[in-house]
């Protein structure tokens, strides 16, 4: 027996819409089984994981804080993925954006001015974009695989940050802790509501999502992105350049990740530390796909994934499971999202091995074997 995927003649509209929800449901089932295996009551675990964080005000603010970078990065990635460019290095661009945006508050830490924040945000976006140019350039010039190069550059960025905060940028008054100076007040993104921690980054994220949604839907640029993503040849026929699109896609997603990075540092952390992200750049890939690469869907998906981070922490505290469970949920969710999408486009067919062996033996649709006689 062999399992084959066979393209469906047409895909079901209903299931295209339902797919993310089915994936969520399946993830929950797997989670329940997992908690059972750990010897926990699944109902209780699920409550602490997914419901409890939504019941208190401060924790809703935390949800917004965690959703902010996820949404910003995923919106950038959605454009990138739609154009058939596979930027897996948003985590690195996030870190580089945070570093570039921190140049002013770290090196000119005495400067207080309303100009500081806008300059930080802009330099953060530029930093992320420039870092994303490296895989773009390699792809455009040497046809390297951008998945590998962008991913590998993540680790370079992380180690660079680690070196910075332990070396040149270490806080001289910080008792040798590997941290930069605390940013001064004019370098801190203000809170949206008094008394809650959620900062202006969330507004950036929502504006970015709306603007990107509009671009994809109603402008020639959005059209160009979809065309090149679906068929490079048709794109060339339309007069669009696939090479320029590589740069556009990487610069755009890099800038978004960079902005997310500096917004996180400036709004939620207040200084640079060796580790500034619990893997936002990677989780955002899940967010992008769960949101069906649609910027508005991404806002919702970002909130869902942010909840898994909070739930992980909550479950650690209340029922004593590792917060790594959160990563497990995220992984399972990505798996089911992709699996559901695949099954919308394809159906599974079982074929008996006898036939397959012969079909596979030939490079051809129609091989004619010599009968040994």
């Amino acid at each position: 027996m062999r399992i084959e995927l066979e393209k469906r003649p047409e895909r079901s509209k209903l299931f295209s819409i339902l797919s993310p929800f089915i994936a969520l449901g399946l993830t929950l089932i797997v989670g329940a089984v997992l908690f059972l295996a750990l010897g926990k009551n699944p109902a209780e675990a699920m409550f602490y994981f997914f419901i409890d964080p939504l019941l208190v005000g401060w924790s809703l603010h935390e949800l917004a804080i965690k959703a902010t970078p996820l949404i910003l990065i995923a919106v950038g990635l959605s454009v990138c993925f739609r154009s058939n460019n596979w930027n897996i290095g948003a985590e690195g661009q996030f870190v580089m954006g945070a570093i570039a945006g921190s140049i002013i508050p770290v090196m000119f830490h005495g400067w207080e001015s309303p100009l500081v924040l806008p300059l930080m945000m802009i330099s953060g976006a530029i930093g992320g974009a420039l870092y994303a140019t490296i895989p773009a350039l390699l792809k455009a010039r040497f046809n390297t695989n951008e998945i590998l190069t962008s991913l590998m550059l993540v680790y370079v960025a992380q180690l660079f940050l680690d070196w910075l905060v332990r070396g040149p940028w270490r806080n001289p008054e910080g008792f040798n802790f590997p941290e930069t100076r605390n940013f001064n007040a004019s370098a801190i993104l203000p809170e949206i509501l008094d008394g809650g921690r959620a900062h202006w980054g969330l507004i950036f994220a929502i504006v970015a999502a709306l603007a990107t949604w509009f671009m994809m839907r109603s402008t020639l640029k959005g059209f160009e992105i979809s065309v090149l993503g679906q068929s490079a040849r048709a794109g060339r026929f339309a007069g669009f350049s696939a090479t320029k699109m590589v740069f556009f896609a990487f610069l755009f997603s890099g800038a978004m990740a960079g902005l997310a990075g500096i917004a996180e540092v400036s709004g939620a952390i207040g200084q640079l530390r060796p580790v500034i992200s619990p893997g936002y750049g990677f989780t955002a890939i899940i967010v992008a796909f769960l949101g069906r690469l649609n910027p508005l869907g991404i806002v919702a998906a970002g909130l869902v994934l942010a909840l898994t981070y909070l739930g992980g922490e909550a479950a650690q505290i209340s029922i004593g499971v590792s917060d790594k469970v959160a990563r497990l949920f995220q992984g399972a969710l990505l798996f089911f999202v992709l699996a559901c999408d695949t099954l919308i486009h394809y159906r599974i067919r079982l074929r008996s091995t006898a036939k397959v062996a012969n079909v596979a033996a030939a490079p051809v649709q129609s091989p004619a074997p010599v009968e040994a006689r």
């Binding site: 003649p9 060339r236 026929f237 339309a238 006898a354 051809v364 004619a368 010599v370 009968e371």
Partner: protein
């Protein structure tokens, strides 16, 4: 159905009520036919009539939903190509599947179930190919072979299993007239040995020439069975199409003599090892003139189209002149802005994006030329209303049949999508049109409409280049004809004075200034 057949023997193969349903479409609807031993049986029908589906069921690629296949009097179920080959059914597909970097013998070896020493395979292949008049060097690299020779590999590969029924799918679509003659001799020989052949084609002349009987399909049903030698081309066409097809005729050139398309020593290196390079192509097309470029597939047609359209630019600006300007270094958008229109060969993924709506596909080719109407504001906002108005105009002008208001391009039949793509260009005010294989895989009704549109455009003073493999089409609509072979273009000659024999020779590369070194030999 056995009417004119004098053989009394039982049929080799009989199909009874064979049906295949895809979703709501009955691709094959209760098809019955019989093939006698030692006959060449034609399966006629337009694209989409169900020929391929039927053949795939015979060869075990698709499973029938209903009906029976009877082989030598025994009902059989053929559930894989392997089973089909075991019964003695061989098939030569229209599209070959060969590894270009391997030799003929190696390619044959790859398709074998058992491991046989390569020398033994080569010997058997050589013996077979000589015996059937299909000379083939087993140690030649496939990349160095012409399309006709590649087809021989596929035929020899099939013959190695000693089949009793050989299915040939549009075998002459890639051959020059002379190569086709040679193939027919081979088919005669196979028939004289008592083998049967199921010959799929839409070329009616051939069918009349070599086939003993014909079964005609339309919309998945058998609509006629006849002895093609008793029929005329017109009567066969009527059966196939289900009505008369309008003839297209081209009048005298009514242009003002301006040169609108010109290439001067246009050369382009091959982009991949197995692509064709263009060499010193000189072409001149005047206002009001249709020049056809004939040739066997894979001789540089798509490369020439890309160079003319600007999808690939040349290093010399004056290598390509369109509408009176040097455009060699200009891209497709700038060329469109000069009043040039382009229709590529491949509809899905080149001329149109399959998973996009027709109105989006309108934007695809016209976002620059119609920027004033289609786009608004500095942001490049798409004006859907204006785009839709133009889309509707094209749909109406070209009689594009579709389901739904604005369906995806993939939902249209080949002919209707081609009409749309053609209409998309004709809807502009064109002075130059470059078309590659305008009616490839298009039903006769749509083909006639597309050809008429080309002729009408030329009458209005535009210059048109039609790259086509279809010699009937070439003679129908061209004022003059040039032939492309191994990336070189012969001088164009008036269509009135050209014979098919001469075109055939040019297609085979036997040009007066013969360049006998095969292109692919350099391409490593």
């Amino acid at each position: 159905m056995q009417a004119s057949d004098t053989r009394s023997s039982a049929p080799l193969l009989a199909l009874a009520g064979l049906t295949k349903i895809f979703g709501t479409l009955k691709a094959c609807d209760a098809i019955s036919l019989e093939i006698a031993p030692g006959e060449i049986h034609a399966l006629l029908g337009e694209n989409g009539a169900g020929k391929s589906t039927l053949v795939k069921m015979l060869f075990g690629v698709l499973a029938p939903d209903a009906g029976q296949i009877v082989w030598k009097g025994e009902p059989v179920s053929i559930n894989s190509p392997f089973a089909a080959r075991h019964l003695g059914i061989g098939m030569v597909f229209q599209h070959f599947s060969l590894f270009e970097a391997l030799t003929v013998a190696e390619n044959i070896a790859l398709s074998l179930d058992d491991s046989v020493p390569i020398g033994q395979i080569a010997e058997r292949a050589r013996a077979l190919s000589e015996g059937y008049g299909l000379p083939l060097d087993p140690y030649a690299l496939v990349a160095d072979l012409s399309v006709g020779e590649r087809q021989r590999i596929e035929i020899v590969r099939t013959l190695l299993q000693d089949p009793q029924l050989i299915i040939l799918d549009e075998p002459t679509s890639v051959l020059t007239p002379q190569e086709a003659d040679r193939l027919f001799e081979t088919l005669e020989k196979l028939r004289s040995e008592g083998r049967s052949i199921l010959y799929i084609s839409h070329r009616l002349e051939e069918v009349r020439r070599i086939c003993d009987r014909a079964t005609v399909l339309r919309h998945g049903k058998v609509v006629g069975a006849c002895d093609p030698r008793q029929e005329t081309v017109a009567s066969l066409a009527r059966m196939m199409v289900g009505g008369d097809v309008a003839d297209v005729t081209i009048g005298a050139n009514a242009g003002d003599g301006r040169v609108l398309i010109e290439t001067r020593r246009l050369s382009l290196p091959a982009r991949t090892p197995f692509a064709v390079s263009l060499k010193d192509i000189d072409l001149t097309v005047h206002s009001g003139e249709v020049v056809a470029i004939a040739g066997v597939a894979g001789n540089g047609q798509s490369e020439l189209f890309d160079a003319l359209s600007g999808e690939v630019t040349t290093s010399r600006a004056d290598a390509v002149r369109l509408a009176g300007q040097d455009v060699g270094r200009k891209g497709i958008t700038e060329r469109r802005l000069l009043g040039c229109g382009f229709v590529p060969e491949e509809r899905h993924g080149h001329g149109a994006v399959s998973q996009m709506k027709l109105s989006d596909n309108m934007v695809l080719a016209r976002h620059a030329s119609d920027a004033k109407t289609f786009l608004g504001g500095g942001l490049g906002l798409l004006k859907r209303d204006a785009v839709w108005a133009a889309t509707e105009r094209v749909i109406k002008a070209m009689d594009v049949r579709k389901s739904g208001v604005d369906p995806h391009a993939s939902a249209l039949s080949g002919g209707n999508l081609q009409k749309f793509i053609m209409g998309r260009e004709l809807d502009r005010n064109l002075s130059v049109l470059i078309v590659n294989q305008p009616t490839w895989g298009v039903d006769a009704g749509a083909a006639s409409r597309i050809r008429q549109a080309i002729v009408d455009l030329a009458k209005s003073g535009a210059a048109v280049v039609v790259i086509s493999q279809d010699l009937d089409e070439v003679f129908e609509i061209a004022h003059s004809i040039a032939v492309i072979h191994h990336g070189r273009l012969s001088a164009s000659e008036p269509a009135r004075t050209l014979t098919r024999e001469r075109i055939g020779l040019l297609m085979g590369g036997a040009a007066p200034e013969a360049d006998t070194v095969p292109e692919a030999a350099h391409a490593h």
